[in-house]
């Protein structure tokens, strides 16, 4: 059946929506970053699964092997992972600074303290 053959996309979109929901619904700044990571990882999976070629091997020069997976999405995602790591690092660094300045990492408490000030 067609929809079983596309199970990778179901996984990707389930993860994507999970991550997105966590980013939107969580009030804890660290959990938001976790959600963002899940969201980004789902996109990495989307790219990697699209590079798969049926019965293909790894893209290495071998004698007599002609069918190999498309390496380009992998390379792209290596770049995107680096970007993702940088974003996570910066996000967490900001959370540390926010914790130092406000004494909390909960969004609603931060808002309360801003209103009091």
């Amino acid at each position: 059946m067609d929809w079983i053959g596309q199970y990778n996309y179901y996984v990707v979109f389930f993860l994507m929506m999970t991550g997105f929901y966590v980013v939107v619904a969580q009030g804890n700044l660290v959990k938001k970053i976790v959600g963002l990571n899940i969201f980004q990882s789902s996109v990495f999976l989307l790219y990697i699964s699209m590079g798969k070629v049926q019965d293909g091997t790894a893209p290495i020069l071998l004698d007599g092997e002609a069918v190999y997976s498309n390496p380009l999405p992998h390379v792209l995602i290596l770049t995107a992972i680096v970007v993702g790591v940088a974003t996570t690092a910066l996000g967490l660094a900001l959370v540390v600074r926010i914790k130092e300045a406000y004494g909390t990492v909960e969004e609603d408490e931060i808002r309360e303290r801003d209103d009091d000030a």
Binding site: Q40, V43, L76, V83, G91, L94
Partner: protein, 496 residues
């Protein structure tokens, strides 16, 4: 040899300058280096614009890898035009930063500040010049990451939460764009924009293509702060260091809008965007809502920076309306406003930066009667404010004039009324600041202030002079914008 490598140098110079700034470690030296680089970048983009002024297209294959394997840098008139805007603002803002940053940041952070500013500049220039859709994502993230850190350097602790909020929304936007590019690659097997534009028409009707279009549009709309995705913008502009507010307000959203124009017109094509996806049904109402709500909310703000942050949301609304008009005149108005809004917002935020330099904050309360103490600063503020309102003789008038012309072409009278109404609201929020500054009484216990140093006034007045110059001598910008618009709408511009 230098001449043929200009497209690469444009991005490489600021990119290399950033680590050099960190190595120099001293704020003063880093500032000097950043200033020199920003001027060299301006000279480069003027040279590029000169080379393509007749409509030629420059291609630069990075590392001699021919496209579609390598990354292709493309300079056409549209790219050269936006490059000029970005580098012009950079070349004025960086020299200004010298005095402003030395009071707003501790000295150990100053060299890092210039490194970030150069990275941001490199990213923005790269987005404009690249012809590769994935490369655009990488450069978008380079500029965005630099931007988040720059905003977090603000003195108020709310700068941290503003930067965090922007980081979350900006990353979601960039990831949406990445999903869209992934789907496009799945369909076409290429990331090169020129190849994409050739292969997309054959796919008309594919639902994957529709999804890709939707993801790319929403992702970029987040970056360009289209209403109602603008929530990150007011706080980010209000709490960032003054120099950063000026630089971002003038360039960041414009470059994201440029990326959107690229995708709408060059990659997906006019036919697909307007007749199959009906994007005007999205851009027009949201543009109108942005103009109205942005302007009205601006009237009720207490800080001058916040007033102009919300006014930026409204100005972006004008640009989206221009695209939504689906005509050459409408697109001309958008491109003109892209340039003009950069000029006026840079001038305004530079003037606001001077106020914050002397007064420490920019609440309306503390501005009371300040015009008597700082006449030149406030005069710059007033002139660029008039430009924002759209008074004849300033750049704001030119772009609004074309927007109204575009609306009249379609016979959309209510839209004309709306543009005029929104300009009147702009009179209100500008008027509030001017009233306080000129007619308010300076409190007796207030510490004495002096006029700002020339190092800050000169860049500000250069921007103000540009507002007046391009408002009167319109042939350069209008000629260029209308030629670009005609080229982008192409022959497919069958819609009236």
């Amino acid at each position: 040899m230098i001449a043929e490598n200009l497209p690469a140098l444009l991005v490489v110079m600021p990119l290399l300058g950033a680590p050099l700034c960190i190595l120099l470690a001293r704020g003063r030296w880093a500032w000097l280096l950043a200033t020199l680089i920003s001027w060299a970048v301006l000279a480069t983009s003027i040279a590029l614009l000169w080379q393509v002024r007749e409509g030629a297209e420059l291609h630069y294959a990075f590392g001699d890898w021919e496209p579609p394997w390598g990354i292709d840098y493309v300079v056409d008139r549209l790219a050269a035009y936006v490059l000029l805007i970005v580098s012009l603002i950079g070349a004025v803002v960086v020299p200004y930063a010298g005095r402003s940053v030395s009071t707003e940041l501790p000295s150990r952070l100053q060299a890092l500040f210039y490194a970030l500013l150069l990275l941001c500049l490199a990213g923005l220039l790269g987005i404009v010049i690249t012809g590769d859709a994935f490369n655009l994502f990488v450069l978008l993230e380079i500029s965005s990451l630099a931007t988040y850190s720059l905003i977090a350097l603000g003195r108020d602790r709310r700068a941290l939460t503003a930067a965090y909020q922007y980081l979350i929304m900006g990353t979601i936007g960039a990831t949406f764009y990445l999903i869209g590019i992934g789907l496009l690659y799945m369909l076409t097997g290429t990331l090169n924009m020129a190849d994409l534009s050739e292969r997309v028409p054959a796919l008309t009707g594919s639902s994957t293509l529709h999804t890709a279009f939707a993801f790319i549009t929403v992702g970029l709309a987040l970056k360009l702060a289209m209403f109602p995705l603008h929530l990150w913008l007011p706080n980010a502009y209000a709490f960032a260091p003054s120099v950063v507010s000026a630089f971002l307000a003038a360039t960041a959203t414009k470059v994201a809008l440029y990326a959107m124009i690229r995708f709408i017109y060059s990659v997906f094509g006019v036919e697909f965007t307007f007749t199959e996806m009906h994007i005007q049904a999205l851009l027009l109402p949201l543009g109108i809502a942005g103009v109205l709500i942005g302007s009205v909310v601006a009237v009720f703000q207490h800080g001058v920076k916040r007033i102009h942050a919300y006014s930026s949301v409204a100005q972006i609304g004008y640009m989206l309306i221009g695209i939504g008009l689906m005509s050459v005149t409408g697109l001309t108005a958008t491109l003109l406003h892209l340039f003009n809004h950069a000029l006026m917002k840079a001038a305004l935020f530079l003037a606001i930066g001077i106020l914050s330099f002397r007064l420490g904050d920019t609440c309306l309360r503390s501005l009371s009667g300040i015009a008597r103490e700082m006449p030149w600063t406030m005069a710059a503020f007033v002139v660029s404010g008039l430009s924002l309102i759209g008074v004849p003789g300033t750049v704001g008038f030119v772009s609004k004039w074309y927007l109204i012309l575009g609306a009249l072409e379609q016979g959309w009278w209510p839209l004309v009324a709306l543009v005029i109404l929104a300009s009147l609201i702009a009179v209100l929020y500008m008027g509030r600041v001017i009233e306080v500054a000129y007619f308010g009484q300076r409190p007796d216990d207030a510490p004495p202030v002096r006029e700002a140093p020339l190092a800050l006034l000169v860049p500000t007045w250069i921007m103000v002079a540009a507002n007046l110059y391009f408002g009167i001598e319109t042939s350069v910008t209008v000629g260029l914008a209308s030629e670009i618009a005609t080229g982008l709408m192409g022959t497919a511009a069958g819609t009236p």
